[in-house]
Symmetry: C3
Subunit: 424 residues, 3 copies
């Protein structure tokens, strides 16, 4: 590593970052046991991928059994960057000194995690160590946000259910309970969604987020067809595939319009195929395909110039499209490196492309996507180091940036852009 | 940067290059005002992408206002490689010393550009500084080529209108005026196109060029269907989508056959979707999709073994296909790095792949695609430095080439191959 | 090159590797003349790509003429990695000292090859120099395996004919001769395939292998439709496209089931389009398309959790999919870098992605795909050096691995994983 890269890495580690997408549960944000760390889907799915039966981590087994099982599997995938997150979290957050977790030493770490987990506001300490100022949550639409600790957390409305399950009886019931509206017409849905956005933004929410399959194509909805579908749903009828599709198109548009009204960005996370491998462990059943294209979203971006779309794509094969769409559309902001693309080789390539061709004020560098705050540190540190590497090798050394310019770009990506775009 | 890389860069900067694709207007090839530089679509579109309203660069606004507006937006995208082109051009061609253009200093550069612009044959000085021997133009089929300065420029027939608008009344009228043929049948179109190719090659033209959408699929045309479409067009009827499609297939084939007759390469620029974002600034409305595949061209390459196709693809997701097609088909020559792929990360990957697996005598390294000659220097210099980097790191240091071999490859890519392939 | 990289390269060159996929003919595994080396399709196709007429290497021409022709063409593609294989093989295996092969010196190499070719068990010497322990063959289903030299070779059943030509009269005749079963029904096919797998495994075969077009989609077969197709084939009727398709689906499933029964992996080589360029030289007529998706195989991977699928994809655009499918599905093992993806830039990217996110115990690093054993050394050496480069730069230097961990990963990829997975 060059001196330049080392210097940049040091400075970048000192930037207090914003994490604009996570799945941290606000009632239990930090780990209370080692199982909370090892239970992260990356470890269960990689252990399963390497041969562990899926039912070895069945929650009906004792926590100790599950931990011992997973620990015994770690050696099979200790090459992965995900494994390195675990080791770095153990070392930096729990003063765990061994180079790896083994059958012999895991109880020591388990004890440290259990002890630390009892501290009041432990998650604040953990996030401070990760040098994060704020972490966005992803909340169900009927979640009670009153107790969210707004000193570190920012709510965010997860719109998946509203868009793809608006015809589902349970979703409709939950929506009625929360908003007071029995949704039987397009206007009802608009009212209910409007109510939710007012509630969420009133509680400090910064945006809505939705994950989408690679073949989803937003379109100007057919309101009559949506009305028919909603009327059927209100009569407890199952919707045909086509009706469900019309309803989703309308509900998606309604959510986007609500974003426009409350002036909040919409987080599009494009490209996930759900439950491709149902026999897998929980959280390890979804995959991607490089099929589809961002061109399906061009019309959406045009029709809503007043809505900022922060966009993540799951397939690395889409990353050129994302960079070019952000280069042309004012309201498209590339955001982080999602899930299966969140590994150094893809981060490095995507980051370089975006820094070379997209206005720096539009780039959201990274988000953790974590389920427990302990992973903020190793995930963000991985990104900070890659950012230093790319800035050093491909920008400062090639003369495209001076060192101060490189640091300014880093501050934008990690902090200033998410603060400004999400108004936090 | 290693000594090796520095040495190679120095030698490569000294190679007198051929630029086989540009949009330089031969009557006004160099900038006469700073607006001519800042008006390059990269700057207007990146400024718009970063928040500038599209109408801020409406030509009805005064030049000074447009310049001031754009200058005020530069800081938002001074990370991009496109911004670096502007700075390098200002420094190297106009002795502009400030590290960036600001509200305070732009009039100084504006004055320098205006002064230099008055010099007789200024464009020759500019191209000499860029170390280019020849620059290809892209001419409308009815452009008068008599005044083209053949000491530096080489005409090239743009075939887009002929292929995709052969049924359009205005195109047909222009064609009749230019060639003397009222096109009402396939043979008429063959005659008119033949006339144009004779005229163009008579004026020193080196090739024909066409840009194509990602889903275009050349095919053996149905001449009867084309005849029907042309007959309808001759009666001023609008063509159905299908008729237009049959006519395009026939016109494309006709152009390829004309290339065969005059023994000139055909430049295929594949993958652009036009007017995806009509609200954007001029030149900043087109985009790409990774959909489609070069396999749609396999039949074309087979049927015309006597025509050299120099091929550029717009989507980086197609670059493996292009390298492999060039590896197998004798008449497929990968050409440069086009538009949205013309940034260092993609150039580096594509260049490396081509140098690793395609005969070096077939590679056209780079073209500028510029609209004013001032951008030849920074764009070619960017490429020359990347070429030095790739040759140093991935060829000489790994033992695949000696240093003299690396320089020979560079000379082929920048100069000898385009000279030989286009016979200039 | 850093000291670290050099050290790793030295250690990695010392690992005795397993080559799990080649096309070496067991009766003539090593070169007997220089034409056997220069006749490798890479050289004939690159020479043709660079301008040599395809019939210049017609087997009816004398060997000396063909050699002289090819030698005269080498300079046109001496930039390619394929050319470097030839030079390295000549130097390391035949003590050829000139830096390149020319019209002046080729007879010297030809003599050395002819001399060496006469040595008894020359191929063993060659493989020992390449530091390979075993080389897998790819055998026709009716090949006689009795004479295979099992000290170095491992048979492997090529299933292409069985799956895609099961309705072909000649294939059916060969199948009847070999297995004693006249296939007229699904059960007959099951019996015949079962017989073949017993024969092959009895002769030490390690797996079955098949190459597949990019749009192939394995599916739960319709046995009735397959029965109808087989009945027609048994009556010497030509099959419709749809019948052939139903039969292929059934035959593919039958082969997979046979793999399950004998507990052997199935090698899937996905993405080749055959005979895209029929006018090309032999072996240089096939190409790829980035169309299609590994998602078409998800159902197969689910339905056969007991079969290990070692998977290669031909298009680099699919490599993210392959890494993620291997990350999630226990029975998907990424295997090497196939054909058009077997060049350093793609190997480096794919290797890095797999090492970052797939359990190390699942990765098969490399196979030669060679037709003569002489290419094992340069091809594997290319891979060994890239492996050292990636491990040094992206794992050890970044802190993801220690140096001993890097070497352990290398041993798994080159030796331990193929030994364990294929049970050799």
């Amino acid at each position: 590593m060059s001196d330049l890269e080392r210097r940049l890495a040091g400075e970048i580690l000192a930037i207090r970052a914003i994490d604009c997408h996570s799945h941290v549960p606000h009632q239990a944000p930090h780990a209370r046991s080692l199982a909370d760390l090892l239970g992260y889907h990356y470890y269960t799915e990689l252990a399963h991928s390497a041969g562990m039966p899926a039912d070895a981590v069945d929650p009906r087994r004792s926590e100790a059994d599950r931990i011992a099982e997973l620990v015994s599997r770690l050696a099979a995938f200790d090459n992965t960057v995900q494994h390195s997150w675990l080791v770095e979290a153990a070392r930096e957050l729990f003063a765990f000194r061994a180079p790896r977790l083994t059958a012999q030493n895991w109880t020591e770490l388990a004890q440290a995690v259990a002890e630390a987990g009892k501290q009041v506001h432990r998650y604040r300490t953990v996030l401070a160590k990760a040098n994060l100022e704020k972490v966005f949550l992803t909340n169900r639409f009927d979640e009670d946000l009153a107790e969210v600790d707004s000193t570190v957390f920012v709510p965010c409305l997860r719109a998946d259910d509203l868009v793809f399950q608006a015809g589902d009886a349970d979703v409709r019931r939950r929506l009625a309970v929360k908003t007071g509206t029995e949704v039987a017409s397009p206007n009802d849905l608009r009212d209910a969604v409007g109510w939710l956005f007012r509630y969420f933004t009133g509680q400090g929410a910064a945006s809505a987020a939705i994950s989408l399959p690679p073949d989803f194509a937003p379109r100007r909805p057919d309101e009559k067809a949506a009305a028919k579908a909603l009327a059927r749903a209100a009569r407890s009828k199952d919707l045909s595939h086509e009706e469900a599709d019309e309803l989703a198109a309308f509900a998606f548009e309604t959510v986007v319009q609500a974003c426009a009204i409350v002036k909040r960005p919409m987080q599009l996370m494009i490209g996930v195929l759900r439950n491709v491998y149902p026999e897998g462990v929980e959280g390890g059943r979804d995959l991607l395909s490089h099929r589809g294209s961002l061109i399906a979203y061009a019309d959406l971006f045009r029709r809503h110039p007043d809505v900022d779309f922060t966009v993540s794509v799951l397939s690395a094969a889409w990353s050129h499209e994302l960079a070019t769409f952000a280069w042309i559309f004012p309201n498209v902001k590339p955001s982080g490196h999602w899930w299966y693309a969140n590994i150094p080789v893809h981060i490095e390539n995507e980051l370089r492309a975006r820094l070379e061709a997209v206005p720096k004020v539009k780039l959201i560098g990274y988000y953790s996507d974590m389920y427990k705050v302990e992973f903020a540190l190793p995930k963000f540190n991985m990104y900070r180091r890659i950012l230093a590497r790319v800035l050093a090798r491909d920008f400062v050394e090639t003369g495209l940036m001076t060192e101060p310019q490189a640091l300014e770009a880093a501050r934008l990506l990690l902090r200033d852009n998410p603060k400004r775009l999400f108004n936090v």
